[in-house]
């Protein structure tokens, strides 16, 4: 039963924990204990980073606001291609790589956000199934358009994108993005969109401009998906519009649901786990997709709200809970 708490200390401690995680991960990758597989595993970890961003951004919509998007790969695609085009134009102009990477991310994010407004503003007056269908259509339009534009490679692989990101940059961009989304969710904005999910009529009757907050959140979600796309482009250095097809959108949604709708922790773990699962199970060769689907089935049967439900992990939260338990244990003795 708490009064309002100032959490600035808790934020600092959790931040230090993230730093420790980063240092230990890089230490493992550099120690050579993984041998020849080091680069390979590092690659999986980097893939997980941008997947986490996109999945978390989708969770803003699906988990917190309760609207389905089945076309999030479309926003990722917009982010990936627009950022790649911009960096291709800027390369060789003497801009340092880090700055160029930041420009690429912002361009990707903003381009996706603009498309987010264009798609969201007219359609977010709709609810539920309608929006899902519109987003599918949107992603298909993006795919087909990019398949037919000269500048995006016209259906062939767009290759030769400068490699600007590695594991550490991807890791920190991921941390920043997820933190931003967490802060958004744990503020008046998050409270508002959860209220809209719970009952939009009551939300309007509480003075909330429902359409405005929906479009706002949709745009923010698209923005982060675009950043994820930009990271993808500048890590993979080559891509084809069909990478971002319906299957990929559905996969992203699966990761949201498995992780836990309404839990960013769930999205982080769900995305990291499911995006690396097919790779980690290479030794099962042909059976790996079978195992993958069995895992999904079991989660849905035994934990339909996803692995984390709406729980958010916080180091300080866990520690203080532990202390309380110890105290209670002592008191009862």
């Amino acid at each position: 039963m708490g009064k309002f708490k100032d959490k600035r200390w808790a934020y600092l401690i959790n931040f230090i924990a993230v730093c420790v995680l980063f240092i230990s991960l890089t230490a493992v990758f550099n120690s050579g204990s993984l041998g020849t597989r080091s680069t390979y595993i590092k690659g999986i970890a980097t893939t997980a980073c941008y997947t986490i961003i996109v999945v978390a951004s989708l969770n803003l919509l699906t988990g917190f606001m309760g609207e389905f998007s089945l076309g999030h790969a479309g926003f990722m695609s917009v982010g990936a291609y627009s950022s790649a085009i911009v960096t291709n134009a800027l390369i060789g102009k003497g801009i340092p790589n880090l700055l160029l990477f930041i420009i690429a991310l912002l361009v990707g994010g903003l381009a996706a956000a603009v498309t987010g407004v264009i798609v969201g503003a007219p359609t977010l007056r709709l609810r539920g199934d309608y929006l899902a269908i519109v987003t599918i259509a949107f992603a298909e339009i993006v795919r087909v358009t990019f398949c037919n534009l000269q500048i995006t490679g016209g259906g062939r692989t767009m290759s030769g994108i400068t490699k600007l990101s590695d594991f550490s940059s991807c890791f920190w961009v991921m941390v920043i993005c997820v933190t931003c989304m967490y802060m958004y969710v744990r503020s008046r904005f998050g409270r508002t969109i959860v209220a809209i999910r719970e009952d939009y009529i009551a939300a309007a009757a509480s003075g909330i401009n429902v359409t405005f907050y929906k479009v706002l959140t949709f745009t923010i979600s698209a923005f982060f998906a675009g950043i994820g796309g930009a990271m993808y482009a500048h890590y993979m250095t080559a891509m084809i519009p069909t990478n971002f097809n319906f299957n990929y959108s559905a996969e992203l949604l699966t990761e949201v649901i498995i992780g836990g709708t309404g839990s960013l922790t769930g999205s982080v773990i769900g995305a990291a786990f499911l995006s690396s699962l097919p790779e980690l199970m290479r030794q099962f060769a042909d059976y790996r997709m079978l195992v993958y689907s069995v895992v999904l089935l079991f989660v849905m049967i035994f934990k339909p709200s996803g692995i984390f439900g709406t729980y958010e992990f916080s180091l300080t939260g866990v520690v203080s809970k532990l202390f309380r338990k110890i105290k209670l244990g002592r008191a009862s003795q």
């Binding site: 904005f189 719970e198 009757a205 003075g207």
Partner: protein, 259 residues
Amino acid sequence: MNAEQPVLKASHLGIAFRGLKAVNDFNIEIGKSELFGLIGPNGAGKTTVFNLLTGVYKPTEGAFFLNGEKMNGASTHQIVQAGIARTFQNIRLFKKMTALENVKVAMGKDLKYSIGSAVLRLPGYWKQESDIDVKARELLSVVNLGDKADFVAENLPYGQQRRLEIARALATGMKLLLLDEPAAGMNPTETEELLEIINVIRHKFDISVLLIEHDMSLVMKICEKIQVIDYGETIAFGKPDEIANNQKVIEAYLGKNEE
């Protein structure tokens, strides 16, 4: 603004769904901190009046004014921000949120910080969030839910959910509270408590209340003025004892004496 100006004034307000006039020529004047009752048999158009006043339906005739300001055509959230808040006949809470959060959601007037200060946790965020935390807890204690702040709304008993809905309406900082059958489904003790709360908030926050109710005894007991509608038309208006003896009202409720 003069002191005589009514908080709510509706003149010739009406709505027609195609040919059907659900509400016709509806006039009302509610003064400051007045408790006004709107009654009528089933299907008389009471809730339609509420829906007109809260922007769910747009009136096809007439106009209504809040503190002299014309509100026609405004959308629900604009009307709430202007100062008319309501509760629902079938409770509509944010079920999975705690009681405290339910109240905080409606405090848009006190929360103005930008996305930037939310994401970067600037001082504005901490200041406003801790301020509304205090205020929201106060509102909860006004409706006797002070100790239920961290309860999830759907786990509260029925009577408490109703009171939470009132607290949420209060949080919008409104001047006129519309209560749609607040005592429906309540037992006598709960109704008694509710009546007391309505009286307390009316004076504490200096607000006017418009109440729809089926329970005649309740309306007669607390309302200062009563308006009776039937088939979308106003059939009577006056003080409770006048209404109780009004021939038209008796006919509307019990039917005409054929002899």
